[in-house]
């Protein structure tokens, strides 16, 4: 009788153990509202796609979490049974690390940061290559030679994106400038609108941006100024004015991470060196005004007409964009926008000839490329 009871207990324990393997609960802590049409919305799309793609996975999210509330939110999520927690903003970095120490058996994944632990990995889908392609198009389409740029915070990520964009603009139009306005907010439609209107009033006839709303596109379209989609398909907000843009698909990263957690590849002990730095090659980012539309057909004729010189050969900007886009999607891309020699806007050589910037350098980049106009905080002299 006793033995039978013991056997039953063991079986139950085994069963529970197995159940835990398949009972994967992934929880997401978002910095903004999921309706922001930007960063948080994109992460939430990724979450939903992952839930569909992975059997046995349940998910949960909390939106608009203040960095100071991160730890309290993690407490609640862990109590609710989450075994994987994604914190999707740079601001959450220190608190995520603290939480990882507090809950050594929970797996943490922090987006866009650089601090890791045995149970905390980092991940990022980065746009810098795509920004260069958009820069090429902006350079071809501007008539005034002034390209506007609405930017959130002067952090390395944005400096990298603005610089790649400016390198693209200057590759087509060596005298053009990229005029930057910082709004010091990820989500502030009011500030984004004010900045866009100011840029247009100052003579910029095409605008790009890095912040989390569709405001720039809507404001620019009202003034008949073309713009670039950021983060999500924003073509629908202004079909006549969105040229192209950079789009993200976080689901490829989320599915990869969660599958590897499910099959035991990732454990709370071996993540110290796991850093996802996924680009167009992994299909984490795309070029497009919307998914499936790399370039708005309305702008194709103008881009085919505009030409640029590449390695002594004249070719249309359209062909150059397509050629580079094919390359960065291939398994072994030959091209990268940050291939030396590159000087910063003060003339200091930052990338020597024949070398590419490393991921670490890209993540810590403080200088900006020539052509960027406007004050840039923390710029090295």
């Amino acid at each position: 009788m006793k033995i039978r009871l013991l056997a039953l207990l063991v079986a139950l324990g085994l069963g529970l153990g197995l159940a835990q393997q398949s009972n994967l609960k992934a929880c997401f802590i978002y910095v903004g509202p999921i309706g922001d049409v930007g960063w948080t919305y994109a992460h939430d799309e990724g979450r939903r796609a992952a839930e569909k793609a992975i059997p046995g996975l349940t998910t949960q999210y909390v939106e608009s979490v203040k960095p100071a509330d991160t730890l309290a939110t993690v407490d609640r999520l862990v109590a609710g049974g989450c075994n994987v927690i994604f914190t999707t903003s740079f601001d959450f970095m220190d608190q995520t690390l603290e939480a990882a120490k507090k809950y050594p058996n929970v797996i943490f994944a922090h987006a866009s940061g650089f601090k890791r632990a045995p149970n905390m990995l980092t991940y990022m889908a980065d746009f810098y290559q795509i920004y260069y392609l958009n820069g090429l198009m902006a350079g071809a389409l501007t008539k005034s030679g002034k390209v506007g740029y609405v930017a959130a915070f002067p952090i390395p990520e944005l400096k990298r994106h603005i610089s790649a964009f400016a390198l693209g603009v200057r590759a087509v139009n060596p005298r053009a400038t990229v005029n930057v306005k910082w709004i010091n907010a990820w989500y502030s439609p009011v500030k984004a609108r004010e900045a866009t209107e100011a840029l247009i009033a100052e003579g910029n006839d095409i605008v790009a941006f890095t912040e989390d709303t569709a405001t720039v596109i809507q404001t620019a379209a009202r003034r008949r100024v073309p713009s670039f989609s950021h983060y999500n398909s924003m073509y629908k907000y202004a079909p006549d004015y969105v040229v192209s843009g950079q789009l993200v698909d976080w689901s490829v990263i989320y599915i990869d991470i969660l599958k590897k957690v499910q099959n035991g590849t990732y454990t709370p002990k071996n993540l110290e060196n796991v850093d996802y730095w996924w680009l167009a090659r992994e299909r984490a980012v795309m070029l497009g005004a919307q998914v499936g539309m790399p370039i708005n057909p309305k702008f194709e004729p103008a881009l085919k007409q505009a030409t640029m010189v590449v390695n002594g050969k004249r070719m249309s900007v359209y062909d150059r964009v397509m050629e580079l886009y094919r390359d960065i999607q291939s398994p072994n891309p030959k091209w990268d926008p940050f291939t030396g020699p590159i000087r910063d806007r003060n003339g200091v050589l930052r990338v020597p000839a024949g070398r590419r910037m490393t991921v670490k350098e890209l993540n810590e980049m403080q200088w900006v490329a020539p052509g960027v106009v406007g004050p840039v905080p923390d710029e090295p002299k």
């Binding site: 509202p33 999210y61 939106e63 100071a68 309290a72 939110t73 609640r76 999520l77 740079f90 601001d91």
Partner: protein
């Protein structure tokens, strides 16, 4: 049906009307839950379970109670005197600014640092509100407008400072100040964010202000000014002085709340919206609920803290939109202000 004025509403009526207003607010928000596809009973049950029946929940409630207690106690005094300070948010921020200034730039012996920060914070908040009182006394400028507008000035000041002269050294492009030293951080209850010295300060302040209001000559003057300005003038009680005193007290209390937030939780000067979560505005409801009794804030502040923390529980448990907390506070204030009518009037059939 007609309304008949009640010259002297009894305290019982006051409690009854307040409870009814609260009940109406909870019912209305319940309707919102229901429209969202969530059973109101289950929502409220989860809110209570996640806050009152959970030690972690208690911490969250207490953490939010602290600033509400400090500001609410001061505001209930101000509202009693008919000095409508809507700028506690800005006064909180200015308190935080001065406290941060002392922490970052004033070389003091470690033992003196925290008290000096608290003092500076109280002074900052008091002066910010005193400015509005001075404008009211000297130029008859409506304090509702000035205190409200000074909120935005304070916000911009904080942003300017952390974006410019006070910007930290290793912030990687984000905007906040350097971190305070260990000895410049308030002690917290073990493993939580509850900075208890400020909590004790808030409780003491609420009791002290109650004594001041009902057991002192100054308190008597304040009440007369608030209830009958004409009589006050007749008695030779200076209205301007009453306003100034009240402004300094309520502003100082809000400044202390700012000190608690940055010395107890954030440990650096950060963006205004992250710094305070709108405590200065939520505290208006806290003070209104207390109907001019600072000591009653000891009940109403935890109630609002419960709703704020409970809103977070709902966010986590049911993926409710984060605005649900704002809906809560809005409906509650609406019901409370609407109920004023029934405090001073009686409904008569025919």
């Amino acid at each position: 049906m007609r309304l008949e004025p009640l010259p002297n509403p009894s305290p019982l009526r006051s409690v009854g009307v307040t409870l009814l207003a609260l009940g109406l607010a909870f019912a209305l928000v319940g309707g919102v839950f229901w429209a969202y596809g969530l059973s109101p009973l289950e929502a409220y049950r989860t809110m209570l379970e996640g806050t009152l029946l959970d030690p972690r929940g208690w911490q969250e409630v207490l953490r939010r109670t602290i600033p509400l207690l400090l500001i609410g106690a001061g505001l209930s005094l101000a509202f009693r005197t008919q000095f409508y300070n809507i700028g506690a948010e800005g006064q909180l921020l200015l308190g935080a600014v001065l406290a941060a200034g002392v922490a970052l730039f004033l070389p003091l012996p470690p033992a003196l640092s925290l008290p000096a920060m608290a003092l500076a914070a109280a002074l900052g908040g008091a002066l910010w509100c005193g400015l509005a009182a001075w404008l009211k006394n000297r130029f008859y400028v409506n304090e509702i407008l000035t205190t409200l507008m000074l909120n935005y000035v304070a916000q911009s000041l904080v942003i300017y400072l952390i974006n410019g002269p006070w910007r930290g050294k290793d912030v990687r492009g984000y905007i906040y100040s350097d971190r305070f030293a260990e000895y410049q951080q308030l002690p917290v209850l073990l493993g939580s964010n509850v900075h208890w010295p400020t909590l004790a300060l808030g409780i003491a302040l609420a009791l002290l202000l109650q004594l001041l209001l009902f057991r002192s000559t100054l308190g008597f003057r304040l009440r007369v000014v608030g209830e009958n300005p004409g009589a006050a003038r007749y008695l030779g009680i200076s209205q301007s002085r009453a306003f100034l005193v009240v402004a300094l007290i309520t502003g100082g209390a809000a400044g202390l709340a700012g000190f608690g937030e940055i010395a107890g939780i954030h440990h650096r000067l950060i963006e205004p919206t992250q710094l305070s979560s709108g405590y200065g505005f939520t505290a208006i409801i806290v003070a209104w609920l207390a109907r001019g009794n600072p000591a009653l804030v000891l009940l109403t502040a935890p109630l609002m803290g419960l709703i704020l923390a409970g809103g977070d529980v709902l966010k986590v448990s049911f993926n409710l939109p984060f605005r649900i907390v704002d809906v809560f506070s809005g409906v509650m204030l609406f019901a409370l202000i609407g109920s004023e009518l029934f405090l001073r009037y009686r409904l008569r059939h025919r």
